[in-house]
């Protein structure tokens, strides 16, 4: 037990180091992009203004406000200080909205879209993969090529196919947005229905791709486990096939959990393509506008969210594994 705790303290230390590195990179990288974000805002504000002094004044006001006139190092410490007080500053591209406000309005769309899609895709994919390994023959011969096709299709490819088929040709589903453009968010039936309808295509485009990848992984794990020695021995001890199948799939599932954790951790990245194609109002679209508008604080903040999510899910999985797999627990305690 002592070794076990030491292992986790050690792990925690490494996660802290990773976090600091990622935090610094999140700050520096966007600022290395060529171009001046303030100039772009000023150009927008000063449309039609011919007074050069006036434009200059506006420019200086914004650089002062955003702090971009200070040296990079100083900006960094100001940023660190602000973040630790929970202040992520103003969004450059959507000024006067704050970063916190922008994130708060978009993050739930992404979580609401991605989390169920990943879970549903993961569950269905694993179930189909396990079934293919167990049934073999015809089912496997159909599922495998289909899964390989689905998983090797790029995310945008799947999204575009769905868009063309169900949105443009059949006109069953709306092609863009999180809800009808003529609606104001409220709790009426009309609005909820509109959200549900708009939800379908981005959701299934993610689910289908996840199913393919998970099914392939689960199938090969399950085949490996089905041929393990303990399966043969259990059979010869007269244990029912139904129970043996339960042993096998529990064991085959273990590596798949890592995959689930990683896709939940990198959920926001996964969202970018689907959200952009379907103009879904989530974090993915936010990242795109942030990058296009050189919105440093917004980019840093979204990257920070991703970093944290990856680190936290990995850490949770690390702990969880110790409980579900005695082999890993033994290895952890030895370290």
């Amino acid at each position: 037990m002592k070794g076990y705790r030491k292992y986790f303290l050690n792990k925690l230390g490494w996660f802290a180091v990773t976090f600091v590195c990622a935090f610094i990179l999140n700050f520096i990288l966007p600022r290395l992009m060529p171009g001046d974000p303030v100039a772009a805002i000023v150009a927008r504000m000063a449309q039609g203004m011919s007074n050069a002094r006036g434009v200059q004044a506006i420019y200086e006001q914004y650089t002062e406000l955003f702090g971009t006139n200070k040296p990079m190092l100083q900006q960094f410490f100001i940023y660190v200080n602000n973040v630790f007080h929970g202040d992520f500053g103003f969004s450059f591209s959507q000024y006067p909205r704050t970063v916190a406000d922008v994130l708060a309005s978009s993050i739930w769309w992404t979580v609401g879209l991605q989390l169920p899609a990943i879970l549903v895709g993961w569950l269905i994919g694993n179930f189909l993969g396990a079934l293919a390994a167990y049934l073999k023959k015809g089912f496997d011969k159909v599922l495998m090529p289909a899964s390989i096709f689905a998983s090797s299709l790029p995310a945008f490819g799947m999204a575009v196919i769905l868009l063309v088929v169900f949105g443009v040709t059949l006109e069953w589903l709306p092609t863009s947005g999180g809800y009808g453009y003529d609606l104001i968010p409220n709790f009426s039936w009309e609005f909820v229905w509109s959200v549900i309808v708009h939800y379908q295509m981005p959701f299934w485009s993610i689910v289908l791709i996840t199913i393919g990848g998970q099914a392939i992984g689960m199938r090969s794990m399950a085949i490996y486990e089905l041929n393990a020695d303990y399966v043969k021995y259990s059979r010869f001890m007269g244990i029912k096939d139904r129970k043996i199948v339960r042993y096998v799939f529990r064991n085959a599932m273990l590596p798949q959990i890592t995959g689930l954790a990683l896709s939940i951790g990198t959920m926001v990245f996964g969202a970018i393509v689907a959200e952009i194609i379907f103009s879904y109002p989530g974090l993915g679209s936010t990242i795109l506008t942030a990058v296009l508008g050189q919105d440093y604080p917004l980019i840093s903040a979204t990257m920070l969210i991703i970093t944290l999510m990856v680190l936290i899910t990995t850490f949770i999985i690390e702990i969880l594994y110790g409980f579900i797999d005695p082999r890993i627990k033994a290895a952890q305690a030895e370290d």
Partner: protein, 339 residues
Amino acid sequence: MSVMSNVVLEVRDLTTKYVTRFREEVYAVDHVSLQVEEGKSLGIAGESGCGKSTLALSLMGYYFPPLHYTCGEIIIDGRDISAMRPDDVRKSILGTEIAYIPQSAMNALNPTQKVIHFVEDVFQAHDPFKSKKEIHEFAKEAFETLGLPEEVLQKYPVELSGGMKQRTVIAVSVLLCPKVLIADEPSSALDVTTQKMVIKMLKGLMENGFIKSMIFITHELPLLYNVTDDIMVMYAGQIVEKATAREAVFDPLHPYAKGLMGSIIVPESGLRDVKLAAIPGVPPNLKDPPVGCRFAERCKYVRAECKVAAVPLYDAGGGRAYRCILSEEVLREAYQHAG
């Protein structure tokens, strides 16, 4: 031959085959007959690929691909299990009448399950109404009798050493007191000291009343000589020699059995000065076995007649049998000349 009443296991002409992905049929066990009496143990020897492990699997009466049953009878206590439905075999034969210790007992336990939970599953597969408390008490007692610490039950397989894992598998195999125990190379993956413990444990199983008879499969003949009463030598899916342990080791009849003895280092007195000799060549491909004697290609004493027709198993009296067209006298004389 022997009195029928105390025969625990009788196998007649058992033939099983592997069907490959390309629909080729490989008869790995070819018309094997054997008998094990109560209180006796039978050893099966042969080089790798001779079908001894397949024979072990075939004896269970429970087949799954790629292994298929072809013909023959497996009679345990008067019941022919080869004629039973697979599910009945599973429920009323496996583990209770006949039990198996796999070749790689190291990986025979589910890595994510505590030993006690597997024991529960084993009991409940045969008697769903047995309470957990009863099972636990029974298992504890059995483990104690077999010299295993009771803590083992509460452990995961990874927490056990190699030898301990092997002994745990043996203990679990005999928990339901099977009439026949089939041990397939139970000690091959262990170091010598652990091997000794495992062998001692196996020998003790009959004395403790856990099992009534045992079939022990290995490629190590000297081990068989120490453990079993009778020895059967297999070659290319067939029995080539059947004898008591002493006869099989010190006075083998079949040239292959003779060669096998000669190729083993035995620190027994009387065998100490025997020179080590390898048997040249490789066993025939069983996808397409030779018409005549299967050992003919590698045999020192081969004659033209050997390759003409299949060689039957000749009864040499006293429970002895060998598969060679040459007579006992001719063989013995030939061995004498060879030194």
